[in-house]
């Protein structure tokens, strides 16, 4: 937009790619400086949701039923106020003329709506009963299981994990992020990372003005992420104790949210470490047990990843690095 005649870069495509990289750097700097805190971005989303109809706000059945109840009665007596002198008289006359007809129709519509509302309340009651029965037999969700000797910044697997996602084609999600130490490392290596962790007290204690950390579970978070919205996902301490169904759901969600060429990195402890006397209590309280490294590679291979496992030096843990392969990708190879 300057007055001088701009020149075309020698290699326009390379220049566009350079600009994209500079934009990523710019965003990191802006975030680090607190110009656009993550909290503010979330508030913007919540502000829009406040304007959306009930079903757009999260699907609470009780709230939806209250709206149905409130909208059940359709009033045939239309308002007749008018800014013109004769307007109210004309409107009132029309209302009187049409009321028998409109009233007959709206009465049936109100009755129909009431019947639907009643049916929904019955469904709500029965669902409540069912939920109470299911609760007794419920398999608890896996806890975050952290082994202090293995989940630390100087652990052997940190460098390869960071290297696998630092050049990812989009934002990198770390779960469970704790106080954000791995998020900071990925950022420092040139990536654009953020973290989620269900242990809200850890997140609250972190430097939220600088790091983008969110106090929520990874499955809950992924539901709000757009398809192909992530360039990388790092899972540490959360998949080891998952039951099969929960693990499958998580991997399915990740597969749809990860951009083509994106990387999934899983750090897991071995079964021996899991069963050892010094393992944290959360290991006992989790419904599942860790998969072996070969099983992870097979599982991810079947899901369209190219996976490689690295065993830890002490045999206590391993790292699986997987790249989501795709026939067509919107990202040029240089951005993968």
């Amino acid at each position: 937009m300057s007055d001088t005649e701009p020149t075309l870069p020698a290699d326009p495509q390379a220049y566009v790619e350079q600009v994209m990289a500079e934009i990523a750097d710019e965003v990191r700097l802006r975030r680090a400086s607190g110009d656009l805190p993550p909290k503010l971005e979330r508030e913007l989303d919540e502000l829009f949701l406040a304007h959306s109809p009930v079903a757009g706000r999260g699907g609470d059945l009780g709230e939806a039923l209250r709206m149905v109840d409130a909208a059940t009665f359709i009033d045939p007596v239309v308002p007749v106020e008018s800014e013109r002198a004769a307007g109210a008289v004309v409107k009132k006359g029309m209302r009187s003329l049409l009321l028998w007809y409109v009233g007959w129709i709206t009465h049936q519509m109100s009755q129909s709506s009431s019947a639907v509302s009643r049916a929904l309340h019955i469904v709500d009651d029965r669902l409540g009963d069912l939920e109470r029965q299911v609760e007794v037999q419920r398999i608890p969700g896996a806890k975050v299981v952290e082994f202090p000797a293995l989940h630390r910044p100087d652990a052997w697997w940190v460098e390869p994990a960071v290297a696998a996602v630092a050049k990812a084609p989009g934002r990198v999600l770390h779960a469970a992020c704790g106080d954000g130490w791995l998020v900071r490392r990925i950022d420092a290596a040139g990536g654009d990372a953020y973290g989620v962790d269900p242990r809200a007290h850890l997140v609250d204690a972190a430097e939220l003005g600088i790091l983008d950390l969110r106090g929520e579970g990874v499955a809950e978070h992924l539901r709000a992420v757009a398809a192909a919205g992530l360039g990388g996902v790092v899972l540490t301490g959360i998949v080891d104790g998952m039951a099969g169904g929960e693990r499958t759901q998580l991997l399915t969600a990740i597969a749809t949210r990860l951009a083509p060429g994106g990387a999934l990195v899983v750090h897991s402890v071995s079964r021996d470490a899991w069963e050892a006397a010094g393992a944290p209590p959360e290991a006992d309280l989790s419904p599942g047990r860790p998969l072996r490294a070969d099983t992870w590679c097979r599982l991810l291979g079947d899901s369209g990843y190219e996976a490689v496992a690295q065993p830890g030096p002490g045999g206590e843990d391993f790292l699986v690095t997987a790249v989501r392969s795709s026939i067509t990708t919107p990202y040029p190879p240089s951005e993968r």
């Binding site: 020149t7 075309l8 326009p12 934009i23 360039g231």
Partner: protein
């Protein structure tokens, strides 16, 4: 084209609704002309016909009056329609010209009628796709949808659009209004498309808010296009008001071609954050008009722009604001994007596009 010569066959088109100033309507009319030029008889049959085009088409149920042995039907698949069931019963050799449709989940919570209609469109696609002798998609993204629906033979063909409308004479009144706004300073950001949840205009507003906060406090957003989602449009207006952007966001409604040309002429950057696009005609229009494009790479967008835009993985306001800043202030980048955009637009438009389509039809008819 030669495949049509001497063949006693008519290639008729069927479409749910034929409207002027509408991408599928324009495509259908241009394809009709190209088919006729290739030597086929060709008429348009529609469930709904806009008054302005009453002389251009027949109601779909009038087809038997025009039917002849050897007829081939092209169905312009845009949304759910009674035409789908009608065609399934006719048993004609069928070519699906697939324009994609917005999946029901994008309307969930906003427009129950649209959810129902989109779900019905999915069922109609599943009904017709296995019957089709050819599925014509507008992008590899849409082609994959056609294949998943059961289409055995598919091809990607261009949209026949009137891209020249954005470089035509601009509406003087609108151009003057936009010029007056431009004199106040600040970038003019443009988006063209219906105001519906899948186009995510609320993300555009959020991005504008971030851009104004971080880079350009006087920037404006122009949202050009009508709406088919009253609830979403109402929520969008409320959001704009709550953010204090009422003076910075112009929601124009539907505009004439001349007014559209004025908007493209005044725009500093074209921004699209749609969550779903089967092709994205306005993206090509922006490239034709020489406006740099910043876009989210959802659906077929990355394939449509093919490297001639700043493509972002998600509607992250910080990224978008930074990308807008570069697109508005970096002259080398603007030059590169405009040059690449014009090249890409040339690939997608012009006489070759119609010939590609007619050749695809001829290939299917000849089998």
């Amino acid at each position: 084209m030669s495949a049509a010569a001497g063949r006693p066959v008519a290639v008729h088109q069927f479409i749910p609704a034929l409207n002027p100033h509408d991408a599928t309507g324009t495509h259908t009319l241009k394809l009709r002309d190209a088919l006729r030029a290739a030597g086929w008889r060709s008429e348009i049959f529609a469930e709904a016909i806009h008054d302005d085009l009453a002389s251009q088409a027949y109601k779909h149920w009038m087809y038997p009056e025009h039917a002849a042995e050897g007829d081939v039907a092209i169905y312009q698949f845009t949304t759910s329609s009674a035409v789908a069931g009608y065609l399934a019963e006719q048993g004609l050799p069928l070519i699906l010209d697939f324009h994609d449709f917005t999946a029901p989940e994008y309307f969930a919570g906003w427009e129950p009628r649209s959810v129902q209609r989109a779900a019905a469109a999915g069922e109609e696609l599943a009904l017709l796709a296995p019957q089709a002798v050819l599925g014509m998609a507008k992008s590899p993204f849409s082609e994959r949808q056609l294949r998943r629906a059961g289409c055995r033979r598919t091809v990607v063909v261009p949209v026949l659009a009137d891209y020249g409308r954005v470089t035509g004479a601009p509406d003087r009144r609108v151009a003057a209004e936009l010029a007056a706004l431009g004199e106040r300073g600040g970038a003019d950001i443009l988006f063209v498309g219906r105001i519906v949840p899948s186009k995510a205009q609320h993300d555009l507003v959020k991005a504008l808010w971030a851009y104004r906060r971080l880079y350009d406090a006087r920037a404006r957003l122009h949202l050009v296009g009508g709406t088919s989602s009253f609830e979403y449009a109402k929520a969008l207006q409320g959001y704009v008001d709550d953010l204090g952007l009422a003076a910075a966001v112009r929601i124009t409604g539907e505009v004439s071609d001349a007014a559209l040309a004025a908007h493209f002429a005044a725009a500093d950057v074209y921004l699209s954050l749609s969550a779903h696009e089967g092709f994205g005609v306005p993206l090509v229009e922006a490239m034709v008009a020489g406006v740099p494009v910043v876009t989210r790479g959802a659906g077929a967008v990355a394939e449509t722009v093919s490297g001639a835009a700043l493509v972002l993985a998600a509607a992250d306001p910080a990224y978008i604001a930074a990308a807008l800043h570069r697109a508005c202030t970096d002259d080398r980048l603007r030059t590169a994007l405009v040059a690449a955009g014009r090249r890409r637009a040339a690939e997608l438009s012009g006489g070759a596009a119609a010939a590609t389509l007619v050749d695809a039809v001829a290939g299917a008819v000849a089998r």
